[in-house]
């Protein structure tokens, strides 16, 4: 993980959430994480903007059952997210199988609630009840099919022993102009 201004500048032209970076600046501390680099992608190193928040314990790894999402609030009480053990390795996944991830389940298109729309067979969230968008939880919440033009916001996780901590949000929760 890196945290400096140069990377943020680079990110303006080349990252998951481009124009929104400006908004992060005014709120919580920001950082960029280097997403796994892919040779031949034609993009230079790709970074995602992460809004850093106070580290918060959100659950225990041993309590998670595969494909049974649980909910938690982060970074504030009114933001409800899902934590799920996918049983398949995922981008930014934690745990032995790199398969534990957390997302804000509000569709980035127009705010449809996807909390109950997890498909265990495909590791996909959706279809959105509003306009049928679907998102791949193994791949940073990228759009599978539909109208959304941003990935689902992913909650950055850390593991300490059996405790799972949320440490930041990659992307912007729907309807907000900053992550605060």
């Amino acid at each position: 993980m890196v945290n400096n201004e140069d990377k943020e500048k680079e990110c303006l032209t080349n990252c998951l959430t481009t124009r929104r970076q400006f908004l992060f600046m005014s709120g919580a501390a920001t950082a960029t994480i280097l997403l796994t680099q892919i040779p031949g992608l034609g993009l230079s190193n790709a970074f995602a903007v992460v809004a850093k928040y106070p580290r918060q314990k959100i659950g225990k790894l041993s309590a998670l059952k595969q494909d049974m999402p649980v909910t938690f609030s982060y970074p504030s009480k009114d933001v409800k997210n899902i934590l799920v053990k996918l049983g398949a390795p995922a981008g930014a996944g934690i745990g032995k199988g790199k398969d534990v991830v957390a997302f804000n389940p509000v569709c980035t298109h127009m705010g449809g609630n996807l909390e109950k729309a997890y498909h265990a067979e495909y590791k996909v969230l959706g279809q959105c009840p509003f306009h049928l968008s679907t998102f791949d939880l193994t791949r940073h919440g990228i759009i599978v099919s539909g109208h959304a033009t941003e990935s689902l916001p992913q909650i950055e996780l850390e593991l300490e022993g059996d405790d799972i901590y949320a440490t930041g949000v990659i992307g912007l929760v729907y309807g907000r102009n900053s992550n605060i």
Binding site: T18, L35, Y122, L132, T134, I142, I143, S145, H147
Partner: protein, 793 residues
């Protein structure tokens, strides 16, 4: 910019257009106007298409003219038009007020977002409307429709005709047809009434099918004749049909049950797009029209057949196509509009003006066509090596005299390869937001696109570029001061159009003493549904959907009223239940028949046959052999703006689709050792290219097998890479790619043999072998792409 030493050098507008005008004049004088070609978009605003067509068709009068999406001008869905349907007649209201909606060759969730989100999906959810969708792969919309009481028919590419015939036969055999409608609204040769045979005393002579064939194979002499023909065709047999189409007998029967309308009470609508008419153009559309008529569909609210449409519509003809100059001809019949790709292929084009499209990248067999462009432009020895005007002109004259071609590309971006590699002159165009323009949507809703910032650099609107160029060539009447001038001048040319007839709007603006744009601006983003017509001031238009024809504030305002008249919009065309108000159409011309009747001599719909055997020799040749797969293609919602630079410019789209993908059924993938994320090659050594223009003399000369016999077809090769996506959403034996990826164009594999009846391509009938060539970087990484199936509900 002018290409000098193979580098595009910025030059003044004057220099660029002086050269374009000089070479144009030279080519027309020495090689004829047939050697001066125009390939242009058909939709990028009324003002521009008017200016472009006025210049190319009226003033230069060349037959070498084609739109962005097809090799020749003409009906895009001829069978449906010939039957008498107005292809853009329906309103969106009708799409949400059917009981059953049959959708062919498109998923409006992917390609017509507003129509789906605002009309079709709410009707499925709230009214329980049933949707039947016909596609070779299940998309998100198809999956949603199926999960909500609808039906998904998984058809092999190009076989819709047979599916339609089989369903039609079940309807006929069970008397599940709307006889009341058929008696009243379809043509009958044997009737003593004023019908097909007797219209204006000209019989069927002036109907389109008579223009394209004398075989007597396409027209039915009324319902009884159609029925007799249908029952005699082996393809209408449900088992044969199931075998050809790949759709199960149960599903075909279920579709027929859903469409059954013996008591005429069910409201059945039909919508279609390119999956239908770009795979088997004439037969697919003719058979869909006849199927629709059986269900009582065609001329009542909620019972309509029409295109869903794609992009907004901004076409306006400023000149007539000189059909008599075209080198193409139907077998034994009239001339056909020119197939421009063949015209270039055979070396007849010396000057090509390409406006707002990529030409070869978007056409069928695109790699073979690039070869031709290379030969005629970059590989010609006469290349510009100077910025002196006289020397540029001298060099390019030598180019055209040596059999080469000069290319002028006019676009809002520099596109590769047409601009970046082939163009000698690149003209930068201004687009929406940078100039006032007008367009209409898929239900003829005309709106003003207001200017809100300046165009970058010296980019100019297309009509301005045309005007300067035309004036330099000595043509008159190009003294437009602004877009409104062009819009106003074009009004009278819009009268014959179904999708954007705005003549009466301009008439009203003049009465009110305001610019036409000022009046249109008052209609806001709601706009007004064309055709705009003039009625008595106190006339109340109350046909279903009337409330959407214009904003409420405008309905009540004085802005649309003058001299005891007012203007209104129209919810749907050919609305048979609408009792037209008396007179006053004379105030501004409009053909009242368009408003209430079918577009035929008699005002009744025509029955068309769709004999499979006029297509089957081509189909038998093209269909996959041995380990080949269909490599069909289409649009997806995330990269809707094909051919623009979404894929390159928008970071999120680049991340989601860094490369083209190919959907493969798990069984086909397994047989080839392919997994999701593998890089594969789709390739073929048997892509047929119809290489030269020719005149059919005998009736069957342009049938595929006869073209081969007569030496008009050559075989070409092409290959395209893509990242594999293994999914049961695509039918076994079929693979699917996004159609216009800039570096991996799926239509390289499409046959360059248009439907000989209509000169429309069969883009969807790509075929090839598919093999693994390695793993893509996305296979085991998480940042870009996804291989999750697209049909999850």
């Amino acid at each position: 910019m002018i290409r000098v030493f193979d580098t595009l050098m910025p030059v003044s507008w004057d220099l660029a257009l002086d050269v374009a005008a000089e070479i144009s004049k030279y080519v027309i004088k020495n090689h004829s106007e047939n050697a001066w070609a125009c390939k242009t978009y058909s939709y990028q605003f009324i003002e521009n298409t008017y200016a472009i067509t006025r210049f190319a068709l009226k003033d230069i009068n060349t037959p070498a003219f084609a739109w962005h999406d097809s090799p020749a001008v003409g009906e895009e869905s001829a069978g449906i038009a010939f039957a008498g349907f107005q292809t853009f007649g329906p309103g969106y209201w009708d799409r949400a007020n059917a009981d059953v909606l049959f959708i062919s060759g498109t998923d409006p969730y992917e390609t017509k977002t507003i129509l789906w989100n605002e009309w079709i999906m709410p009707a499925i959810k709230k009214r329980g409307m049933k949707v039947i969708m016909v596609l070779p792969r299940k998309t998100a919309g198809a999956a949603f429709a199926e999960a909500n009481g609808g039906l998904f028919l998984d058809v092999y590419p190009g076989t819709d005709t047979v599916l339609h015939m089989a369903i039609a036969r079940i309807l006929v055999e069970n008397n599940w047809v709307d006889m009341e409608f058929i008696k009243n609204w379809t043509s009958n040769f044997f009737s003593e009434l004023w019908e097909t045979e007797s219209g204006f005393g000209r019989g069927t002579r002036n109907t389109h099918w008579q223009w394209i064939t004398t075989w007597g194979k396409l027209e039915a002499k009324g319902f009884e004749d159609f029925k007799k023909w249908l029952l005699g065709e082996k393809e209408s047999d449900i088992n044969t049909a199931s075998q050809i189409t790949g759709v199960s007998v149960e599903k075909i029967r279920k579709a027929a049950e859903m469409l059954a309308n013996g008591d005429g009470k069910k409201k059945v609508s039909f919508g279609y797009e390119k999956g239908l008419y770009w795979s088997n153009n004439y037969l697919g559309t003719a058979s869909l029209g006849s199927l629709a008529l059986l269900t009582g569909c065609g001329n009542r609210p909620g019972r309509v057949l029409g295109r869903f449409g794609g992009h907004q519509r901004g076409g306006l003809g400023g000149g007539n196509y000189p059909g008599n100059k075209s080198p193409d001809k139907f077998g034994g019949r009239r001339r056909l509009t020119m197939d421009m790709d063949r015209w270039v292929e055979s070396g007849h084009v010396r000057f090509a003006w390409v406006v707002g499209n990529t030409w070869m990248s978007a056409m069928a067999g695109s790699q073979s066509q690039m070869d031709t462009f290379n030969k005629l432009t970059r590989h010609n020895p006469n290349q510009v090596m100077s910025l002196v005007k006289e020397e540029i002109i001298e060099t390019l004259k030598k180019r055209v005299d040596s059999g080469g071609m000069v290319v002028v590309n006019q676009d809002i971006y520099l596109r590769d390869p047409i601009g970046a590699k082939y163009a000698d002159i690149v003209l930068p165009a201004a687009t929406w937001g940078e100039e006032n323009f007008t367009r209409a949507n898929g239900e003829r809703r005309l709106r003003l696109y207001s200017k809100f910032y300046d165009a970058p650099g010296e980019a100019k609107p297309d009509w301005w570029i045309v005007a300067q160029w035309a004036k330099k060539m000595g043509f008159e009447g190009y003294d437009w001061k602004d877009s409104n001038d062009v819009f106003t001048e074009g009004a009278r040319f819009s009268r014959g159009r179904q999708d954007n007839n705005y003549d009466a709007l301009v008439w009203m603006a003049k009465k009110k003493g305001v610019k036409a744009y000022e009046l249109l601006r008052k209609f806001g983003t709601t706009g007004i549904q064309c055709p705009v017509i003039v009625v008595d001031e106190d006339y109340k238009y109350d046909r279903p959907g009337w409330e959407y024809t214009m904003p409420k504030a405008m309905r009540d305002s004085q802005d649309i009223r003058a001299d005891g008249y007012k203007i209104i919009g129209v919810a749907r065309l050919q609305d048979s239940e609408w009792k037209l108000p008396d007179a006053h159409f004379g105030a501004r011309y409009i053909d009242p028949k368009n408003l209430t009747a079918f577009n035929t001599q008699s005002g009744k719909a025509n029955w068309l046959k769709s004999p499979w055997d006029i297509f089957s020799d081509f189909f038998d040749f093209i269909k996959p052999k041995e380990d080949e797969l269909w490599v069909t293609n289409g649009r997806i919602n995330e990269i809707w703006q094909s051919g623009f630079d979404d894929v390159e410019r928008r970071p999120y789209i680049t991340q989601r689709f860094p490369e083209n993908f190919i959907e493969i059924h798990p069984d086909d993938a397994k047989a080839r050792g392919i997994e999701s994320g593998d890089m594969v090659l789709a390739y073929s050594e048997r892509i047929p290219v119809w290489k030269d223009s020719n005149m059919g003399t005998n009736a069957l000369d342009t049938k595929y097998s006869n073209l081969v016999k007569q030496g008009h077809i050559k075989m070409t090769k092409a290959s395209v890479t893509a990242v594999a996506m293994v999914t049961p959403a695509v039918k076994k034996g079929v693979s699917f790619m996004y159609f216009l990826h800039p570096t991996q164009p799926a239509n390289s594999l499409a046959p360059r043999v248009p439907d000989p009846l209509t000169n429309q391509y069969r883009y969807k009938l790509g075929v090839g072998k598919v093999k693994k060539i390695g793993e893509s970087p996305y296979k085991n990484e998480f940042r870009a792409m996804t291989f999750a199936r697209r049909d999850i509900v």
